[in-house]
């Protein structure tokens, strides 16, 4: 089976954000594989181990993203592709990203493409479905279970807390929701092997993409931090007095009940 995983390098969830010059500063920040993409990688490896084939992880970004690709290879992916847009593109949006990924994937005859259901930085969750649409294949988002039998896929997906069971067929793109699996940590032999696995680097030229083709359709005009929330009141007295005071405050001061 020919399996691809779309991966994004993101800020570690522990990071606090600092904005200067209108941009989020990344000096000294820790980066990770987007957590939802880790579920996608784990699932891809599991499917390959069961059905055979090859797992290729793809990312778009700069040179630094090589580290996250090596981590995916250490987990067990077979090949990695870095589409390096550093020199070509300043502004990208979901349109840009999905166009580039689809141009790369269009002649690869993928049976299964996996991605995270959302990236924890941009948070739009658009790229997976957009890529599927551009490739003309079906997609299922926020999956929590995947079983493949021949070309039939039986899937459970999370719809706002409820579980929808459905059936569809390959080729298919799915996006991973939490609960799909427990991503493995790279083993030491895995890390050693990853160093020798193929990592291909491409630029827009290699995909015959003109910069105009992928010009962003939306524009970010400002990035800012939310107003700092002031610590409120910790109530005092015995617990039952605190509880009745709290109910009074919620009804009369905060007016939310």
């Amino acid at each position: 089976m020919n399996i691809y995983v779309l991966v994004k390098r993101t800020f570690d969830t522990e990071e606090k954000l600092v904005i200067s010059g209108g941009k989020i500063q990344d000096d000294g920040a820790e980066f990770i594989i987007n957590p939802y993409d880790e579920y996608a990688i784990e699932e891809a490896i599991t499917v390959r181990d069961e059905h055979g084939g090859e797992v290729t992880v793809i990312t778009i970004g700069g040179e630094e993203a090589e580290k996250q690709l090596r981590t995916a290879l250490a987990m067990g992916a077979d090949k990695a592709v870095l589409i390096n847009t550093e020199d070509d593109l300043e502004e990208m949006d979901e349109f840009t990203t999905s166009y580039i990924l689809a141009e790369y994937l269009k002649d690869k005859d993928a049976d299964l493409i996996l991605a995270g259901n959302v990236a924890i930085d941009g948070g739009s969750g658009q790229v997976g479905p957009r890529v599927a649409d551009l490739l003309g294949i079906n997609y299922v988002t926020t999956i929590t279970s995947l079983k493949i039998d021949g070309t039939t896929a039986t899937i459970v997906r999370d719809i706002e807390g409820d579980a929808e069971e459905l059936e569809t067929s390959l080729p298919l793109l799915v996006t991973a929701q939490q609960g799909l699996n427990e991503p493995r940590y790279p083993s030491l032999p895995g890390i050693m092997k990853a160093k020798k696995k193929p990592l291909e680097e491409l630029e827009l030229d290699d995909l015959d993409i003109e910069e105009d083709d992928v010009e962003a359709k939306t524009e970010t005009i400002e990035i800012y931090l939310p107003p700092k929330k002031e610590a409120g009141r910790v109530l005092e007295g015995d617990i039952s007095a605190q509880v009745s005071e709290l109910v009074g405050l919620l009804r009369n001061e905060a007016k939310v009940i």
């Binding site: 658009q126 706002e160 069971e165 962003a216 970010t220 931090l225 939310p226 409120g232 109530l235 009940i257």
Partner: protein, 321 residues
């Protein structure tokens, strides 16, 4: 310039969802005095048309077909694209819901359009509309605008106030669309969410963390949530410890929520959890540890044992409600 804006209406358990009324209010702003057209898709949805009008839609188009009983991206995609073809809109608004999140990228891709997801506020109107959305799960915000053509957004539930419901008149018409080649067959939907209150739309959330200690430990939280017409949520700690389903998780992984009232019980307040809830309007923290991080974002705090405090709180609310 005034615009024509389409709004996808959504129902849940036989009623229109609040987020649909919020989407109409958003569409009004984008339209800048133009026209707001509600769109209803399903096997039997025409009866909801009048209510969309009462909440501010100028008219409504319904697409009904037996194959549209359950949502599939293929079925709804064909139906909505047929409406777009007929109407040539300059704006589109969906709720940032399971359906909206799944369908909007497909429509945007077919239209080769931008799409601004998960909008929490709109500044300005018409062509000058600027959209505010959280990034890094609410650790920061960005202001975004469409560079050209269509303004296509999804709105996060509970953020944009709906217009007042009034008796209004507007045309409700049906569009006949042939729905074919569905590639997905829905077999079953297993209800897991309790009491039918969806976490992302809940006005009140009672959330538990590791301090809840067990699955049974969530029962007093559920009781309080039921009384307040809210939903139960959880921290990653509680989900990882298997006290509850991951679908309840609130945080940077998991759901980002903005209810009117968020009651955090036995939650320490890791930065990842705060990202998912700190934009709630009012936050109450209940925790044994007075040093817990959660008190730094709470409007009101009680230092105490949640198993003592929560049942007392339920009783106290019962007295006054």
């Amino acid at each position: 310039m005034s615009k024509k804006v389409l709004v996808l209406g959504e129902t849940r358990e036989g009623a229109l969802r609040n987020v649909t009324f919020e989407a109409i209010a958003a569409a009004k702003k984008i339209s800048g005095g133009g026209e707001v057209v509600g769109v209803l898709i399903g096997d039997s949805v025409a009866d909801f048309g009048a209510e969309l009008v009462n909440y501010g839609a100028d008219r409504v188009i319904t697409v009904e077909h037996p194959h549209l009983k359950s949502y599939t991206s293929d079925g709804y995609g064909q139906a909505f694209m047929a409406v777009i073809e007929q109407e040539s809109p300059e704006g589109i608004v969906f709720g940032h819901t399971a359906v909206g999140k799944d369908l909007s990228p497909k429509i945007a891709s077919k239209l080769q359009s931008g799409l601004i997801s998960d909008v929490t506020n709109i500044e300005g109107e018409g062509d000058d509309a600027v959209f505010v959305r959280p990034i890094y799960s609410g650790k920061a915000f960005e202001k975004v605008k469409s560079k050209e053509g269509l303004s296509f957004i999804t709105v996060r539930p509970n953020n944009i106030p709906p217009l007042a419901k009034e008796e209004r008149s507007g045309d409700v018409s049906s569009l006949s669309v042939d729905i074919t080649n569905l590639r997905t067959i829905i077999k079953d939907v297993v209800r897991k969410s309790a009491e039918g209150v969806d976490l992302s739309e809940a006005k009140v959330i009672v959330a538990g963390g590791r301090g809840v200690k067990s699955t049974e430990g969530f029962e007093p939280l559920q009781e309080l949530a039921n009384l307040l017409g809210g939903a139960v949520g959880a921290s990653r700690g509680a989900c990882d410890a298997d006290y509850c389903d991951y679908s309840l998780q609130i945080g940077q992984t998991g759901k980002v929520v903005t209810p009117d009232l968020y009651i955090a019980a036995g939650i320490s307040g890791a930065i990842q959890h705060l990202a998912g809830m700190s934009n709630s309007k009012v936050i109450v923290a209940i925790n044994k540890d007075p040093e817990a991080n959660i008190f730094k974002v709470a409007d009101y705090g009680i230092v105490g044992d949640l198993f003592e405090v929560i049942p007392m709180l339920t009783e106290e609310f019962k007295k006054v409600m």
